[in-house]
């Protein structure tokens, strides 16, 4: 019998370490245990870290009925657990009907008449207990306890290992999913020029696959833009040598597989092994778009400054001219018909116009101005504006022709904004046409109306066609105008969910500016005079 017991203990101990799945361990262990200790119920409970709750960690599945549930936390207070933990020794309950512990009542109700709990301790701390229950009263004795004491330490260790293992596995799973899904490149790079780790986003950003990075030594350096290489290497060296603890926002360019440039911002920390720096780790963010916008912004600022400074400069120079004329007695500049007032007026106008346009476009772009939507008649608006423009077109001997169908359906739109739009397109047509005609046409499409302003003027080549709607674009940089007008037009059209574009057969061949506005659907809800805030798309 003793031999048999020893064998079983050995067997159980080897089972305990055979698997990291505690359920496996539990199942096989309880089967073996049953050969030496009779029980009707076996549970393993674990104490939470702050010691006031415990959790039923495993529970054999084949109990007919129990109030206990795996994974649920129970209070320590009044339980057998508490005593086991407190005294760090096994506790036997001979008769649950006496209700020594609060849990006894539950167990009694479920038919368990006697039980014993054995502490599991690991590294000097009680981590939980193993609990045997029997339907027989007075069943457990010191004999059982002394037998179980030969298994308990290994079991405690195994449970702790599983717990730790599960924790790390979970953390690892999380970590892996972070790496795999990160939009940034997460990497480890060692001194020998290899990448032990690099996340898949590297392919999206650089065009090179993860495998490429794993297989090509020093590819980090070779992908770096030649102009940035030395700077980056020096900075990284500072981390490798331990001169600095980290690098933040190290900006550099890399060359994409397809040959274009990508901007990265890199954060770097030293990668250590046993306290020694063996490389770096960190992440790279793709900031190409941000860089592009920065440059765009800088160009915009330059263009706006130029547009505002030119008239200001000329006003100043005109005043200087006037004063010199005064002091030198240069009559011609002071007499009637002198160019000075003309220059002043022109440039003040230009300045006023530029400021107004800049204000308009920033108001539109910020989206603070809601559209005032009403039912408008495109037909009437065009007719009205054409009437106003007859004079200035006539001055240049340009004919203004209207091709308006009588039955243009109403459009839900902001009347002032549409007027501004049509007005500007006709103004431009007059401005850039020296002879011929300007045709205003409206076409009714199934979902929208299409408005065309066609001129026989100087036209636009392909490049210019692409740029005209951009802010501050002027084909001729010294030409009058801020180059914002068409950007405003585009904004207005987009706010109305329409489209605007230009067609031209080329330079000198006239242009057709066209835009569409969706036809007002029969609205389900009533009320036409609503103020709706529509955000421009695109």
């Amino acid at each position: 019998m003793l031999i048999n017991k020893k064998e079983i203990i050995l067997k159980i101990n080897s089972i305990i370490f055979s698997s990291l799945d505690i359920r496996d361990v539990y199942e096989t262990m309880s089967r073996e245990l049953l050969k030496v200790i009779d029980f009707d119920r076996l549970t393993v409970t674990l104490i939470t870290e702050n010691n006031n709750l415990y959790e039923t960690f495993v529970l054999s599945k084949d109990y007919e009925h129990t109030a206990l549930q795996e994974g649920v936390l129970y209070p320590m207070e009044g339980s057998l657990m508490k005593r086991v933990v407190q005294f760090r020794e096994p506790v036997i309950v001979e008769d649950t009907s006496l209700g020594r512990f609060q849990t006894d009542k539950v167990l009694y109700a479920e038919g368990i008449r006697s039980r014993f709990g054995y502490p599991l301790s690991y590294k000097g701390r009680v981590t939980g207990s193993v609990n045997f229950g029997s339907k027989r009263k007075d069943y457990y004795t010191k004999k059982h306890i002394s037998f179980f004491s030969m298994i308990a330490p290994q079991l405690a260790m195994a449970i702790e290992n599983t717990r730790l293992f599960n924790k790390t596995r979970e953390a690892e799973k999380k970590y892996r999913s972070i790496i795999e899904n990160s939009p940034d490149i997460i990497f480890e790079y060692t001194k020998d020029g290899t990448f032990p780790l690099i996340s898949p986003s590297v392919e999206r950003i650089t065009g090179y696959s993860v495998e490429y990075f794993y297989n090509h030594k020093n590819c980090g350096t070779s992908l770096c833009h030649p102009d940035d290489r030395e700077r980056v290497q020096n900075e990284v060296l500072c981390v490798l040598d331990g001169h600095v603890d980290s690098l933040m926002d190290l900006e550099c360019r890399v060359i994409h597989k397809q040959g274009h440039i990508k901007w990265l911002s890199i954060e770097v920390l030293p990668l250590k092994e046993e306290g020694k720096i063996i490389g770096i780790e960190g992440f790279c963010r793709d900031i190409t778009e941000r860089k592009r916008l920065d440059e765009l912004k800088n160009n915009l600022i330059r263009d706006v400054t130029h547009e505002l400074k030119t008239p200001t400069a000329k006003i100043e120079m005109a005043i200087d001219m006037f004063e010199r004329a005064l002091s030198s007695g240069n009559k011609s500049l002071l007499e009637k018909g002198s160019q000075i007032p003309e220059i002043l007026r022109n440039n003040l106008y230009r300045l006023k116009n530029a400021t107004k346009n800049i204000l308009d476009i920033s108001r539109l772009e910020s989206g603070i101005e809601p559209l005032k939507l009403t039912d408008i008649s495109i037909h009437d608006i065009i007719k009205h504006i054409a009437g106003e423009k007859k004079e200035s077109a006539g001055k240049k001997k340009i004919a203004l022709i209207e091709q308006l169908p009588p039955d243009v359906p109403p459009i839900k739109a902001d009347s002032d904004k549409i007027k501004h739009l049509v007005n500007h397109l006709i103004d431009n047509a007059i401005k850039f046409t020296d002879e011929g005609k300007i045709t205003l046409a409206v076409k009714i499409l199934p979902q929208a109306v299409e408005i065309t302003v066609e001129d026989t003027g100087r036209g636009l080549d392909k490049d210019a066609q692409e740029c005209v709607f951009e802010k501050f674009y002027k084909e001729n940089p010294s030409a009058e105008g801020s180059g914002i007008g068409l950007a405003i037009c585009k904004h207005i059209v987009q706010m109305h969910k329409g489209k605007i574009w230009v067609e031209s057969e080329g330079r000198g061949k006239g242009s057709r500016f066209k835009f569409t506005l969706p036809i007002a659907e029969e609205r389900k809800e009533q009320g036409t005079n609503q103020v709706i805030r529509l955000k421009a798309e695109g």
């Binding site: 030119t310 940089p477 010294s478």
Partner: protein, 123 residues
């Protein structure tokens, strides 16, 4: 002999300011209203100094500059670049040789001073 000045500037009002400021000074002033005209005039006659507006229709100042410098007769001729923006806005010009920068607005003294300085240093 009077110094020959070529001013390439497409803004008519600016042309007026130049003419007014240089009136009565010991220079012969020729004005070209665009890049092509400027290059053409520079070929017809040897000028001693060129004042060049940077932003013009058709061709930017740096291209005209490069074209002028290609011509053997203009290799060493002083060039003044004029613009309403300051020099810092045109990083590329810092790399060009024998050129100075004139920011608009300028007055008569500043213009004459700049011209004198260019003649001084290129002598």
């Amino acid at each position: 002999m009077m110094k020959e000045l070529l001013i390439i500037e497409d803004d008519l009002e600016m042309q007026g300011f130049y003419k007014d400021m240089l009136r009565g000074e010991p220079f012969t002033v020729t004005v070209a209203s665009n890049a092509e005209e400027g290059i053409k005039k520079a070929k017809e006659k040897q000028f001693n100094l060129v004042i060049l507006d940077i932003l013009m229709e058709g061709m930017t100042g740096d291209r005209i500059f490069a074209l002028l410098r290609k011509d053997a007769r203009y290799k060493a001729v002083p060039i003044i670049m004029a613009s309403a923006l300051d020099e810092k806005s045109y990083r590329c010009f810092q790399a060009l040789g024998n050129v100075s920068f004139l920011e608009k607005p300028f007055n008569k003294e500043r213009l004459l001073g700049e011209i004198a300085k260019r003649f001084e240093t290129t002598k």
